[in-house]
Symmetry: C2
Subunit: 476 residues, 2 copies
């Protein structure tokens, strides 16, 4: 198997081995002792904390408050909305012993919190004045997996789940869209990850939702990663959970609800999308270390100069690290920080000390540049911005180059058995066509943009009239 | 039962009813459907987020990184350190079914993470260069309880647990102390809650620790709340978990470890310590809303003026809320925000609008004051500081007034059957005396300050020579 100079399998040759090795070598994660579980190491968890910090501002700006509901859901509660349960039952972890005794009623470790939250909503909502309820929680959830693929597929993962209740369907639908806009901003501005946004087909809709929206990004394997979802739940939960209120006219109404989530799976997408043969490439907004300062020799004067630079950058809210380890050579350190995906490296030696300059090396392009110390903070902030945008633009180009309008089912099949990627193709909306396409090509409908214009076309499968080109891809 | 004007049982008459009612009425929490569980509502959870935000800065300043380990611990792993397990076994929640199948090995829902973390440490540590390991995690933990007392006693609670590994015992001991200093700062500066800091007696030490330090605060009932702990674990885990390393001389050594934690129980202590007959009183550093602005009438001009004030305060990082509800009268709103413990209330009416002033009302003292709009931000920030200190000073006085040096066992017993509080009394160190005192008075040794000077005295129980006055109290 071909390896990079970092002893990393080449991404271009074996992406699965590359991924698994990189996650360990970059100190992002380790495997937990129970099947399907992972340990978030400091470097990997710091990425999640940055995601949380950015998103908490956006969540708050929507008027949504953070809360925390219990981990354990009594089995009877989960059974109350049967359609919703069906999707989860094979994935549940069940507590049967508590405090040394067999429990009278089994407790489910939450796979998601609709049922436990909505039981509380039914107590909290009496009048239109109690609406809207706008809450979010950051927590761990469990859905049983036998094989771990760190971040991407784990039995326990971390996420945020937003849940809202409204007096009208119009308000709930608006919230569903706003939440997806929030994810779109998060992926574009922080993850530097473009994607297609739209509604899912009925077969791909969250059980219990009337409409699901999703953000679909492209992975290097040509598959689509469903990177977040926002659900218009209609009154599917408010009726069984009896979440009703008296409206302004004193009439009893059931609330209209939404739920929306983004998980640590997103970090798996981030690694896959931006990484290269040399390792990780982190967009500056999500990089725990944005700038690593490497003293070329560990000499007191040079270290002092490094600290001077560091102070300037920290004052400008740049996340920096000086690597002062004395048991690693410079070349080793360069490889290490490239592998860890730090966006910008400063090399500081005698030359830089003498000329009061710093030498910048970009992780995204390998570009080198020398700047005066007194201009360094402004320059570095601007280069970090450029890196953020450059990673996004590269990903946009990649997405465009791997999205094809296809009208012929033969070509559709050829594409899906080769390079894959997204296909825009007419679909008549009949579930049977969707099923056949999936069975024959492994591709599923990913989404239909809300702004998709009506066209006159013919279903890629059955050739009957069709109005919309859907995005198709194989799911990650 | 006597009630306040807020329909709240009087704290001074029935503290337990007062507490349970207040938690609900102030919108801090609700009960979960599974026994022993609670829901953190937005207002209660926001207090915890403020604790996290303050503490994360202090934790980072100690060089400690946040991580996340799995929720599920295989039973065999928990059994590896028997002494430590003994304390937890009656409190465990056990998963026996996963993915629809009976599990081969039961999984324990973490009651604390020593075992799962230290198994990983044994893989991560090879050389002295891998040390120290300094990590912390914010997470949920489960210890079975049948009765819920929101925040104070719940089956699932939230906490941070710090875990470190060092090359020498000296470094581990220093870390144990630094962690306790961090808690001391947290309680004093943010919770406005004084307490006694010191080491626990062997009987009260965490199973698995060589030495435990604790922060003991006084609750209104005269009982002591163990508000956080920091443990010197010695090599009690590193030996069974085989966490060893080659030191600089190439000799194999076992690491020295610490662990330390603070939980959402602290919020229970906060409520109990500062609340009064009118409800909650939050120290400004932990108040989700520091200043509530109440328009005396909901008139456009007045609302505009309120928003002007709000902007000034927000620019100065004051957390504010304007209560614009049109279905509640001013008197109702005043009661509501007093009950919710907001430190400062601004009443804004025609008089204020005309004179371009704002009227401040302090929650801690009821004091009223009028200030010019253009001086309002600076003034309000200074008043918030005063409130923070005033709550602390009151609590310090209360602690002093309820701490007694007692040399006579008869008086000790009388005190513990009446007013309670802390007693400083000589104890010879014999476990049998400690046990007898506990059996006869319900009081336990709480801690011995690390700086306690040696004195010549006689054990309060057996009258044999004793060197130190320990703090005794009944445990919450």
């Amino acid at each position: 198997m071909p390896f990079s100079k970092k002893n990393l399998p080449l991404k271009s040759k074996n992406i699965s081995d590359w991924y698994n090795r990189l996650v360990i070598e970059a100190d992002l994660a380790d495997y937990g002792p129970a099947k399907g579980t992972m340990i978030f190491k400091a470097y990997g968890y710091a990425i999640w904390e940055l995601v949380q910090s950015h998103m908490n501002k956006l969540i708050k700006a929507m008027g949504v408050d953070n809360v925390y509901f219990p981990l354990f859901i009594p089995e009877s509660l989960l059974n109350r909305e049967k359609k919703h349960l069906k999707g989860f039952s094979p994935e549940l972890a069940v507590v049967t012993i508590g405090g040394g005794e067999e429990l009278e009623e089994k407790l489910i470790v939450r796979p998601t919190s609709e049922t436990i939250m909505y039981q509380a909503f039914s107590r909290w909502v009496q009048s239109y004045r109690d609406l809207p309820i706008l809450i979010n929680q950051w927590c761990n959830v469990v859905r049983w997996e036998k094989r771990t693929y760190p971040f991407l597929r784990t039995s326990e993962f971390l996420w945020q789940e937003g849940h809202t209740a409204h007096a009208t369907h119009e308000q709930a639908w608006e919230m569903t869209i706003r939440a997806m806009e929030m994810y779109t901003k998060t992926y574009r501005d922080y993850f530097s990850l473009p994607g297609y946004v739209g509604k899912k087909s009925p077969a791909e809709t969250f059980p219990g939702a009337d409409t699901s929206l999703s953000y679909e990004s492209l992975m290097p394997s040509g598959k689509a990663l469903q990177s977040s979802t926002s659900h218009d739940l209609g009154q599917n939960f408010s009726k069984p959970f009896e979440i009703d209120f008296l409206d302004k006219k004193g009439k009893k109404q059931f609330v209209w609800q939404t739920s929306w989530g983004l998980s640590t799976r997103s970090i798996g997408g981030l690694i896959l999308a931006h990484g290269d043969d040399q390792g990780l490439r982190l967009p500056p907004e999500l990089a725990p270390v944005q700038v690593v300062i490497l003293p070329v020799v560990l000499d007191d004067k040079i270290l002092k100069f490094c600290r001077q630079i560091a102070v300037r950058l920290e004052e400008n809210n740049v996340r920096i690290k000086i690597d002062e380890r004395d048991d690693e050579r410079l070349g080793f350190k360069i490889n290490k920080w490239e592998l860890k995906g730090v966006p910008l490296r400063l090399e500081v030696g005698a030359k830089e000390l003498k000329s009061k300059t710093v030498t910048l090396v970009r992780r995204d392009s390998g570009g080198k540049e020398s700047v005066k110390l007194n201009q360094s903070a402004a320059k570095i902030k601007s280069v970090l911005d450029q890196i953020q945008k450059n990673l996004f633009n590269k990903a946009v180009n990649n997405l465009k180059n791997n999205t094809r309008e296809i009208n012929d089912y033969g070509r559709f099949k050829t594409q899906m058995s080769g390079q894959k990627g997204f296909i825009q193709a007419f679909w008549c909306g009949a579930p049977v066509c969707e099923e056949k396409i999936k069975a024959e090509t492994k591709a599923t409908t990913r989404c239909l943009p809300l702004t998709a214009k009506k066209e006159k076309g013919r279903c890629i499968y059955c050739r009957k009239p069709a109005e919309h080109r859907w995005y198709f891809a194989q799911a990650y």
